[in-house]
Symmetry: C3
Subunit: 362 residues, 3 copies
């Protein structure tokens, strides 16, 4: 509350951000973005911060040759510069590419039909890091597929990679020959060929799709995405105002949330009182305990299945392959850090990195 040695305004950054975003700017504003998002179809998933189209890629402050040899003042300077980039990213993306956007579909004789292409792509993880990725439709995570419990789905998969692949519908009770395990349920999809999967979605909830062929490598490098199955009866799930993905990976480009590392991770925005649904999914190879500051996680589903009794916590540990769904009521205004609490996945002498983002409550 008081600080007799600091000349800067403590607690001022979020106010500066609030002023900045309320003033609008190139591409829109964080909070305006939240308002705009409210006009989306109820329950739609939107990767936060799609505002801004220019997406420059200016570098973050240069890393020192030896972070462990940084002076404390240099560490502070680097730490501040990264936070500034993160806040800038809230209104004007600092990297190219947005992962996990919802994929459009068309109805073919009563079947919701999607098209996925497995393709090599360059993917920008942070302003300083662009990697060679294996992708669905060029983005990481791949496009989000939204389907409805009990309504048939078809997914046409074209393999434009240089290697074989398959797609597994992680969490779904499909017919065995649609399960995507090479040489067990199908032959892998050869380079240059196509394969069509068909299934009737269920159970409902937060699920995933990913490669099941040489998967430690292929999933790690980006062949992963979210598969969201709405319940046949929408009243089955808790009410929410925003639908947010929180997909973890720890292979491609290091520690990432929705394909990006801090400061390029997008903050999640909310109006005060909003009920935010988070869909945590781990597509990496390590356990990640995700900690939320200043707000409460009300966890209501595990692997899509409703928990018999929801529980509250501030740290939800997500193991590889697991999904957890939680409601966060945005009842405390401010910028709330939201990060992996294995601190070596989130903080370095140069400042925060990797699995760090925030919820910004108006």
């Amino acid at each position: 509350m008081n600080d007799d040695t600091q000349t800067d305004d403590p607690g001022g950054v979020d106010r500066r951000l609030f002023l900045a975003v309320m003033a609008g700017g190139a591409g829109g504003a964080v909070l305006a973005g939240a308002t705009a998002a409210a006009a989306w179809p109820r329950g739609s998933v939107h990767p936060p911060t799609e505002v801004g189209a220019s997406g420059h890629t200016g570098a973050t402050p240069p890393a020192t040759a030896d972070p462990l040899a940084m002076s404390p003042a240099a560490m502070d300077q680097s730490s501040k510069a990264r936070v500034d980039r993160f806040l800038e990213n809230a209104t004007s993306p600092i990297t190219q590419g947005v992962g996990g956007t919802e994929l459009e579909w068309r109805m073919e004789a009563g079947v919701r039909t999607f098209e996925l292409t497995c393709q090599n792509a360059r993917w920008q993880v942070t302003p300083d890091q662009t990697v060679d990725a294996l992708t669905y439709n060029g983005i990481v995570p791949g496009p989000t597929l939204r389907v409805v419990e009990g309504q048939p789905v078809r997914v046409r998969v074209r393999n434009d990679l240089d290697e074989s692949t398959t797609v597994h519908w992680h969490g779904q009770r499909v017919a065995n020959d649609q399960d995507g395990v090479p040489y067990v349920t199908q032959d892998p999809i050869q380079p240059g060929s196509e394969y069509t999967y068909e299934f009737t979605p269920g159970p409902f909830g937060s699920h995933m799709y990913h490669s099941h062929h040489n998967a430690a490598d292929q999933v790690g490098r980006g062949l992963l995405g979210a598969l969201l199955v709405e319940p046949a009866d929408p009243a089955t799930e808790p009410r929410y105002d925003e639908d947010y993905l929180y997909v973890l990976n720890d292979v491609l480009g290091g520690f990432t949330i929705n394909g990006k590392g801090f400061p390029a991770t997008a903050p999640y925005t909310a109006r005060r009182g909003d009920r935010l649904r988070f869909r945590f999914m781990n597509e990496g190879q390590m356990v990640h305990p995700i900690h939320l500051h200043g707000l409460t996680l009300e966890v209501f589903a595990r692997d899509g299945y409703p928990l018999p009794q929801p529980f509250r916590c501030d740290t939800i540990t997500v193991a590889p392959g697991e999904r957890w769904d939680a409601i966060v009521v945005a009842d405390n205004p401010g910028v709330w850090a939201f990060h992996c609490h294995i601190l070596s996945h989130a903080e370095s002498p140069e400042g925060m990195f990797g699995m760090v983002t925030a919820i910004i409550v108006e």
Copy 2:
């Protein structure tokens, strides 16, 4: 469903397996095995696929010198060969030795009495890998001890190793001097000597026994087994048709399930509609999230204790020392992969390995 570029029969492998096993063969068949198993005493634990006595040990396809340099076609070929070996293993074991078989006992003045010998042994993990193990009675996991809550038990332990050891009854509330912690509750059992443990089992449920002396090494190398305590009132636990172990280790011979690595892991078999009980136990040093395709885990006990409310999931994370019990209703026919979702414990450029098995539903 359609595939205009693949010449092979998609979804055909399980049909081939079904045809193969229905045709019978040397030692029996997967599905016939399931039927035979139904004749076992209700509630008995049987390591799956004990059918077949010849157990040849032919090598899997030769590994390349540098898996990362494999061509995609070579990767596919190697992947297929491993699956073929796994399916072969379902009807005719491809390695020597079966771990976790139930140990016979005799009644001595009202006390169920078991005999364990700690002994060095060679243990075949996969067709290509045989390791020096420390074992109980020559197998890994050691023999399964089945006891009843409240009915006294005696275990005579002979130490034929070159080093001292003790046995800890992990999960049991024994008298302190039977707890097996060296120099805290007893002196260790010297090479060439014996020690007799006595306790009245409780609580009921899925427990373990293992070395507590230099245990990172001794347990890692094989001194571990399952201790199954039936409740005094059988109605206390859910009903099930088959009782299956799923013991994890990540030291001896790499990533193993019941002492074997894929493709030598045994599939679990079921008739449609069977209720399968799985007893997950982690005797390794890493957390393993076990993912089941196409079916649902109904988790009803933790460390043997009934959960106040069972929950459903498809990925159950098992930390070292933990036990989890789940019912799987075999309501979806096919061959369902069942593996650790830390993909580097399950998939390599050469195909699946390590912590991978399957449930085969007739």
Copy 3:
């Protein structure tokens, strides 16, 4: 029960300890300590084994140059010597320094006011290992702050380190500008300066405070402590007789419980029938499954939030950032090992080390 080859008295160590502690001795006795502790204010946290003031620092038996080359007899000897040191530690501390002691406060105009100084200190982890730590008030964990839900708190933080820092109140729903995230909610506290945090505690339960600046390093090296928030209505939590901390770290000085490694970890003491409350907190960077012998954990809160239904277990996995609260009823007399079940965090060829302690039930 019988052992026809051992000449030493099996099960005798605990009896020796019991005799030793019942006979009293320099500084008091384990069980007498438990009795004395009962005179403390109800619900107070006391790091076990504060009895004894001399605290000598004699070395443990010399480690061999190559533990893997130790003879079995040498392993046994080393193992026994470590247990002896641990039991000695129960009555006469074998290391200097006790972490996590409760911090005194004073009331300033209705605000419970604490003072913390961030300072470099030498910290003795085991008799053989003293490390350079970053500390609050010179101890690791830092002093425990006990506050009451809804009653305002002030914490004056002085930074006497050579680098900047901040304090985050992990688990608390503070106002955003008190959250302690550098450049997001405040500028970091520069060396030589002070900062005052103010908040009204909530939610109640077991929480933590720690650095949020270069935190992988600063928390790892000791800038961490427990923040215990009593509920406004004491009847909200289960009844207990003793209030025990179990704070995990895996950076500073290796694998530690409350800042110490075995054999310098303090055992927890209980009279038969006591209800012990354990507050598990992980400030490290790895998941630790904590296993209790011979007794049962009744887990009733997660991250401070009461669980809708408590559950029982013997192994509670604590991920970084998580807190779990459990009651242990001391209904089984003896010395019960209580350790991380990732065995490489607890056992070596030279005997037990790191994350091992015990509950001693009279």
